[in-house]
């Protein structure tokens, strides 16, 4: 869990960094998603990244399978439960609910893939009218205009709400997962543990927050 988790955490860094390019499309000097689309195109066309992408899916798959197995395994260990649960007195609810949070994130991911990944890889990035959404670069090359796709997708309030909820799930999942992963990998020195804990809290709040701001930004028209 820890190893796959940490890989996914690393992926989040890349993902959030790249997506943050959308905010280059704000206000007077908006580039209308040029920077974002360029970056996305770069990622999509590099062989190394494509291989890593396969790796990413493998890790997600492993993480999910491991998670399911862990939950199933641990569920069998106490056939008769307590009538008065210990509850939040000794642990955080999200620490005890990693399975549930993970499931929510997975559901969100499926939606997310359908929204963006499937079109950009397979079915093509098309507008509502079925016409391809493209953007022409300075050298004349035409690339997918994912920026436009996001703009269209995030006009739907429900999608925005689901995305925000997905990000909240991710935040709580990370809040436990980040520290837990390092514990599982054997970090026990109090100095490093403190550091990791601080980074973990920061990461768990900032990254999902930034992600959540993207659909909101589109919905509220902060980027265009």
């Amino acid at each position: 869990m820890a190893l796959t988790g940490i890989f996914l955490i690393l992926f989040l860094v890349v993902h959030v960094g790249l997506n943050a390019c959308i905010w280059n499309a704000t206000g007077e000097n908006s580039d209308h998603g040029l920077m974002f689309n360029t970056a996305a195109n770069f990622m999509g066309s590099m062989v190394v990244i494509r291989i890593l992408e396969i790796g990413l899916f493998v890790f997600i798959f492993l993480h999910v399978i491991q998670g399911i197995m862990l939950v199933m395994y641990n569920k069998q260990k106490r056939n008769i439960g307590y009538s008065v649960p210990y509850g939040n007195r000794g642990s955080k609810w999200y620490s005890r609910s990693m399975g549930l949070l993970g499931t929510l994130i997975l559901l969100f991911l499926i939606l997310h893939w359908i929204n963006f990944w499937v079109p950009s890889r397979f079915t093509g990035v098309n507008g509502v009218d079925g016409q391809p959404l493209e953007m022409e670069l300075a050298d004349g090359e035409k690339i997918h205009n994912l920026f436009a796709l996001m703009q269209i997708t995030f006009q739907n309030l429900w999608v925005v709400i689901i995305y925000v909820l997905g990000c909240i799930s991710l935040a709580y999942h990370l809040l436990h997962g980040f520290n837990s992963a390092f514990r599982t990998l054997g970090v026990h020195n109090p100095k490093y543990m403190k550091l990791i804990q601080s980074i973990g809290y920061g990461f768990s709040i900032i990254v999902p927050f930034v992600f959540a701001m993207m659909p909101i930004s589109f919905y509220l028209g902060w980027v265009s």
Binding site: N74, K77, G81, S83, R183
Partner: protein, 253 residues
């Protein structure tokens, strides 16, 4: 400290034996002094039950001073009751008030089957120790006690881990019924000492394997164990165990 007396309602898990189906039963006790220990309150109940021809509540206890690790009640949703860093036998009735209802359950984990009422079988812990929780030194093999200096901080940290009393509260509190805190306390205690180094790879692997075989769950670092440990054994021991385990696995020949 003002003393007071109280009347209490008790809801206690009763189970005739390992295979019987258990159920909660309600009792009432009156005139309980705030100066009593929790187990003395149960003594009062039991005396009353015996007088009435009922079967007294079976519970494990021995030293009644918080060190033998035998007492094991899950009181109002928390192993060893409401006080931190305290075993059930050291819990006193000052923690409760007149009219309170107290729910008492046994440790719940498949690896700790109920023997009767609140008494559970914790022999799995002994078997985990048998798998490697020792230093292989026969009587008479020892060199002088001061031959190997041990830095004070290491000795102190080792002692802090060795303070575990093997009561099983960690397993009882854990949503996964994991015995990682117990196991890690022993691994850390021995691995921090130079004497424990020669066997540290095999020790950690064998003990973890045994723990899994005994049917304890896998640790997911929720920290519930740490919060109930009457000897305040820390989660860092679990991280230490993980490090030992990883290195031992990597060193696998």
């Amino acid at each position: 400290m003002e003393h007071y007396t109280m009347n209490l309602k008790l809801k206690i898990w009763r189970q005739a034996n390992r295979d019987a189906k258990g159920a909660f039963r309600n009792y009432e006790v009156s005139g309980i002094s705030s100066e009593m220990s929790f187990l003395e309150m149960i003594d009062v109940l039991n005396e009353k039950l015996i007088e009435n021809g009922d079967d007294p509540v079976a519970f494990d206890h021995d030293c009644r001073e918080g060190i033998c690790g035998m007492c094991s009640m899950y009181i109002n949703g928390r192993p060893h009751g409401p006080w931190e860093g305290t075993t059930t036998c050291q819990l006193h009735m000052r923690a409760f008030h007149d009219g309170d209802t107290i729910v008492i359950e046994p440790w719940r984990a498949n690896s700790f089957p109920v023997i009767k009422d609140l008494v559970v079988d914790r022999s799995a812990f002994d078997r985990i120790i048998q798998a490697g929780g020792y230093i292989s030194v026969n009587t008479g093999n020892a060199v002088d006690g001061n031959a190997i200096p041990i830095p004070k901080d290491k000795a102190d940290a080792s002692f802090a881990a060795a303070a575990c009393i093997g009561c099983g509260a960690c397993v009882a509190a854990c949503k996964n019924s994991s015995a990682m805190l117990f196991l890690s306390a022993k691994v850390t205690h021995l691995a921090l000492l130079p004497q424990g180094i020669p066997e540290h790879d095999s020790r950690v692997k064998d003990m973890v394997e045994r723990m899994d075989k005994e049917g304890f769950g896998a640790c997911s670092n929720t920290t519930a164990c740490e919060s109930v440990c009457p000897k305040e054994i820390k989660m860092t021991n679990i991280a230490y165990l993980n490090k030992e385990y990883l290195l031992a696995t990597l060193n696998n020949k």
